[in-house]
């Protein structure tokens, strides 16, 4: 059972690193920005206040309700709809004519069980009665003349009905031959207990791995949510800039507190939506017995949640910086496009890889590249294609990169956010000073 280690060890590392970063940040903040003791509680901390406002505003918005409804219904539909097409066990009504071998019923039951076919066996007093019942109350008639009668077959070639018919025909033929051979009981038992030869390949092919539906659904939902909430960050920052409220806010807050509060608040809303989505997915899966809930599903789910958080935080800082540079939606779209491309590319590539039987080297490499790791790493975890070390390294790379991106984004934000009029140029915000 290696999967737990894939998630537990990195999760501990993430928590430890987060704790260390938080303590360091608090120490630095206290030294720079001493606050009265009474304001140290989270709910009165500036980050908490900004986050609280974001949570209240977003939860009241109609767009959030619609978004949650769409996601929950879409995920439930993805799980439930395939079950409508799932073929239930074939039921075959078998009629047995008088004079057939005594082992007939046992052979019918054995072959049906082997092929997942459910049978009901009825003995008829005469062949004429059986033939008249055919098609009305009997699907298959077994006659003493070594014939199997059907009205129109039991299904197309290759179907379970057709396979059952072929198998039963062979079994009854063999039983009849064995009976005619007049073998001793021990000879008969030897023949009946025959085992097939074991097949051994000297160079076995790579086993085909089945597609993990949880990873596939998870990647889709994660893309929708990261894209949506990163856009909220961008538009929220842009709105504060265009409405000029940001100058009043920054007269009492540091930029990092401002963005941190926004990322935390919207992140909380995102987790709320994620929780509702997961709950609906689990309920739907258990209700229809979907293969989404498998033995290792909880570890894939844990990896998806962890990487959703990492990916959301990474992209939030990027989009906050972009939002601080623009005042109009068209400017935001053009400036955000280059930063959205890795998100879209990673998502599309992951959908492709999650549905394939093998994983490319390029895809493995993308699991260590923070802009695409949020999709690639959970997919690899679901397939058992990454070890604990690889997982931990990817998490560490993502954390370090996110811290660097956050510092850069905070710098861009503080230089760009009060610049109004024409769009801010990259050269202006990458220089020191504001």
């Amino acid at each position: 059972m290696s999967l737990p280690r894939h998630v537990i060890a990195p999760a501990i590392a993430v928590l430890a690193a987060s704790g260390a970063l938080l303590r360091r940040s608090r120490r630095r903040q206290r030294s720079r920005n001493p606050r009265p003791a009474s304001t140290r509680e989270w709910t009165r901390h500036p980050v908490g206040l900004v986050a609280g406002r974001e949570i209240r505003q977003r939860l009241r918005s109609r767009s959030f309700s619609i978004s949650v409804l769409i996601t929950v219904v879409a995920v439930a539909a993805i799980i439930v709809i395939p079950s409508f097409h799932h073929t239930s066990a074939l039921r075959v009504r078998v009629g047995v004519a008088p004079g057939t071998p005594s082992a007939t019923s046992a052979l019918i039951t054995r072959d049906a069980h082997a092929l997942g076919v459910v049978t009901t066996i009825t003995s008829f007093p005469s062949v004429s009665a059986l033939e008249s019942a055919l098609h009305r109350s009997v699907d298959l008639a077994v006659l003493s003349s070594q014939e199997l009668l059907t009205y129109g077959g039991l299904g197309a070639s290759g179907s379970s009905g057709s396979n059952f018919l072929t198998s039963l025909s062979l079994s009854l033929g063999q039983a009849s031959a064995l009976s005619a051979a007049h073998l001793s009981p021990s000879q008969l038992q030897t023949l009946q207990s025959a085992h097939p030869f074991r097949i051994v390949a000297l160079h076995p092919p790579t086993p085909r791995r089945s597609v993990d539906p949880l990873a596939l659904v998870g990647v889709i939902v994660m893309f929708m949510m990261v894209n949506q909430y990163a856009q909220w960050i961008l538009l929220g920052v842009m709105e504060e800039k265009s409405s000029r409220v940001v100058e009043v806010l920054l007269s009492g807050l540091r930029p990092v507190e401002m963005i941190g509060g926004k990322v935390s608040g919207i992140g909380f809303v995102a987790l709320l939506q994620g929780g509702l989505t997961i709950a609906s997915a689990l309920i739907a899966s258990y209700a229809v017995g979907s293969p989404l809930v498998q033995t290792h599903a909880s570890w894939t789910l844990a990896a998806l949640i962890l990487w959703f958080l990492l990916g959301y935080v990474f992209y939030s800082w990027v989009f906050a910086a972009v939002g601080s540079m623009v005042e109009r939606i068209d400017q935001a779209q053009s400036l955000a496009l280059p930063f959205s491309l890795p998100l879209f590319a990673g998502y599309i590539y992951s959908i492709f890889e999650a549905s394939s039987t093998t994983v490319s080297t390029l895809y493995r490499a993308l699991a260590y590249f923070p802009p695409t790791a949020l999709f690639a790493m959970p997919t690899l975890v679901s397939r058992g294609d990454v070890g604990p070390l690889g997982f931990s390294v990817s998490v560490a790379i993502d954390l370090v990169t996110t811290v660097l991106v956050a510092r850069l984004a905070a710098g861009i934000y503080r230089r760009a956010i009060l610049h109004t009029g024409s769009r801010v140029r990259w050269g202006d915000v990458l220089r020191r000073g504001r």
Binding site: P34, R44, E240, S243, V245, E247, V248, S251, G252, L253
Partner: protein
């Protein structure tokens, strides 16, 4: 006692010198007018006080201590470009800004409601900002600056765009805050209003202080001034050729003259009589508008 000490501020934006060694002090208990032409550096200075602009050089202290985030909690700010959340209810908004400045939720809400009532917005607490008129938005903006009872109040153009009632209301609050011991700095291009409201005036140009003092000091300083009104000569043509006399303002027939020290006022009166019947002839102090123009020239 000076509470806000601004010393040697320098800031360049590319080739533009925004602040060029700017220094002045702001005392508590008085209203300080912060004046200057467009582009003089007023907004940059105000932003620098709040750490919104990085300085190349200079120091800003409060009661001798460097201004940090904790001390800025006791500042109130009304920026030139008004900023509020357009779709947030106004009482929620004032409460939010109060809490950002350290008030408890209950205090922020009660004080926010008090200020909205004081500013004439009683009954509109649940209105959204974008449902209000420009003047009322300005009142909400002032409430967000006042809700935490700041020690230092910095207001960039707080009176622009207001009707006379609004100017009276906000002007009264500005003076009242100062009389209660707060330091109040505000900028405005409405110089008559500044003259009425302010105790001290600082005038800057090209990032430097060009005049600083009490309104009385500035008004009584400089050369002697005369106000003369002559029937039949509303443009003051009679004074244009008098040696040592400069026409500083002409307003509805009232001609304001600046005299060089050696000029005899009797000679000026004689010249005026020669032009027509003199209906007004008085010595006067400088108006703030004259101080402003002369400081810049």
């Amino acid at each position: 006692m000076p509470v806000l000490d601004i010393s040697g501020l320098r800031r360049r934006f590319g080739d533009l010198v925004a602040l060029d060694g700017l220094s002045f002090t702001v005392a508590s208990g008085v209203v300080t007018g912060f004046l200057g032409p467009n582009g003089a550096g007023k907004t940059t200075t105000m932003r620098a006080i709040f750490g919104l602009v990085d300085l190349d050089e200079g120091d800003i202290r409060v009661d001798g201590h460097p201004v940090d985030a904790a001390r800025r909690q006791r500042f109130g700010y009304m920026p030139e470009e008004r900023g509020l959340y357009p779709t947030m209810k106004i009482l929620d908004q004032v409460e939010y800004f109060g809490r950002l400045h350290g008030l408890s939720r209950a205090d922020a809400r009660s004080k926010g409601a008090e200020w909205l009532t004081r500013l004439g917005l009683e009954g509109r607490e649940d209105a959204k900002v974008d449902e209000l008129s420009h003047g009322n938005q300005q009142r909400v903006q002032l409430a967000t600056a006042l809700v935490h009872d700041p020690d230092i109040l910095i207001l960039d153009e707080p009176l622009s765009g207001l009707d006379p009632t609004g100017i009276d209301d906000i002007g009264a609050i500005i003076v009242e805050r100062a009389r209660e011991g707060r330091a109040v700095v505000f900028s405005s291009h409405q110089l008559d209003l500044v003259e009425n409201l302010c105790d001290v005036v600082t005038i800057i140009d090209h990032g430097r202080v060009v005049a600083h003092g009490t309104v009385d000091e500035l008004a009584s300083a400089g050369q002697p001034r005369l106000t003369v009104r002559v029937e039949g000569d509303r443009e003051g043509r009679w004074a244009a050729s008098l040696p040592g006399v400069t026409v500083s303002e002409i307003n509805g027939g009232e001609v304001r003259l600046v005299l060089e020290d050696h000029v005899d006022t009797d000679l000026v009166l004689s010249a005026a009589r020669a032009a027509g019947r003199v209906t007004e002839f008085s010595l006067h102090r400088r108006r703030l508008s004259e101080v402003f123009r002369e400081s810049l020239s």
